[in-house]
């Protein structure tokens, strides 16, 4: 198994991010992590990224504790922490210094296909910054990509470009976990969908199996979480 949570619970004070969560992710899957706000999507991804430590239970990545694997996992968080003075070229220097697996050539290709302008981030639109952040994440050569709401709050054309870059960049041995509220747009990309509700799995299914029963991932979302 590439990554797994085994009876993992994460509490923030009195509230629970995820509760007694057990789920496994083999290599080579594009997984949609779906749920309403507060359902535990971000907590699950942060646990796998090693950015949070479970209150109880285990979180394993590449057969080790998630915390020890941080350098080998790509995590794209919800918050935009780019410095305003940074240009895409500055971002490359920054990423090369941080990660051994950052591929500058691939980054250049991603900047082009995502149409990221070569100016400072303070002069970029939200969509352009979102595309830049995605290029920085996808230019790393890793086996596990955790993308938390990469489509959140950005325009339709940026969302389409982002989804296309994910399809083109994905290798069959890599696993991508992508959380999103833009379920209708992204559903074609998912092989598997994990629906979370109140920190637990409400449904874990293969997308084509759902559609084989005549129900889209969106329709299933309404039925399972509505």
């Amino acid at each position: 198994m590439l990554a797994s949570l085994n009876r993992a619970t994460k509490q923030y004070g009195r509230t629970e991010g995820v509760r007694d969560l057990t789920v496994e992710f083999p290599p080579g899957e594009v997984v949609g992590v779906l749920g309403l706000n507060g359902s535990g999507k971000s907590t699950m991804l942060k646990l796998l990224a090693g950015l949070l430590f479970p209150t109880s239970g285990d979180v394993a990545v590449f057969d080790g504790p998630a915390r020890a694997q941080r350098a080998r996992v790509v995590y794209l968080g919800e918050t935009d922490a780019l410095w305003s003075w940074m240009t895409p070229d500055d971002a490359a220097t920054f990423m090369v210094g941080l990660y051994d697996d950052f591929d500058v050539k691939r980054y250049g290709e991603l900047l082009a296909s995502l149409a990221v302008p070569r100016r400072r981030t303070k002069a970029m639109s939200k969509g352009e910054r979102g595309r830049l952040r995605l290029a920085m994440a996808l230019a790393r050569d890793a086996k596990l990509y955790l993308l938390d709401e990469p489509l959140g709050g950005i325009d339709l054309l940026s969302r389409e470009k982002i989804l296309q870059s994910i399809v083109r960049g994905w290798h069959t041995d890599e696993t991508i976990l992508l959380s999103t509220h833009e379920v209708a747009e992204a559903e074609g990309l998912f092989e598997r969908v994990v629906y979370l509700r109140e920190g637990r799995i409400a449904l874990d299914a293969t997308a084509e199996t759902l559609r084989g029963r005549g129900k889209s991932v969106v329709q299933t979302y309404r039925e399972v979480l509505g």
Binding site: E160, V167, G188, E191
Partner: protein
């Protein structure tokens, strides 16, 4: 080759791999592609359609099983020279006829009336 532009994907209309395979068969039956034509790579088609590459691979496997396409190592995927185009055209015509028959029956029209309407539509089309 315009599969990525013409293939409609409806998330509520069953598995995507079936929709892609049906669309390729339909394009062949209509003569929009012909035996010997090269198909786009699974990755290009997947990116164009916004679907998972494995879904396209699955659709291609289904078309290979139906003797419609073949993969030539290192060259890509092609419509087979002996792809059963005539049979697919017959199948699709029958399917369309059956759908028309269902509608005509639901409307309660007689067979001559239905046939007359069909002839008229064909002449107009």
């Amino acid at each position: 080759m315009t599969i990525e532009r013409t293939c409609p994907i409806d998330m509520n209309a069953g598995p995507i791999f079936v929709q892609i395979a049906n669309h390729v068969r339909q394009m062949l039956a209509r003569g929009e592609i012909v035996p010997g034509d090269k198909l786009p790579s699974a990755r290009d088609l997947a990116a164009g359609l916004g679907v998972n590459p494995n879904t396209v691979v699955h659709a291609f496997a289904e078309l290979e099983r139906m003797s419609v396409i073949e993969t030539r190592r290192g060259l890509g995927t092609f419509v087979r020279g002996d792809a059963p185009v005539a049979a697919m055209r017959r199948d699709m015509l029958r399917t369309a006829a059956a759908a028309f028959a269902v509608e005509a029956t639901a409307l309660g029209v007689s067979t001559p009336e239905a046939l007359a309407a069909l002839k008229e539509a064909l002449n107009a089309g």
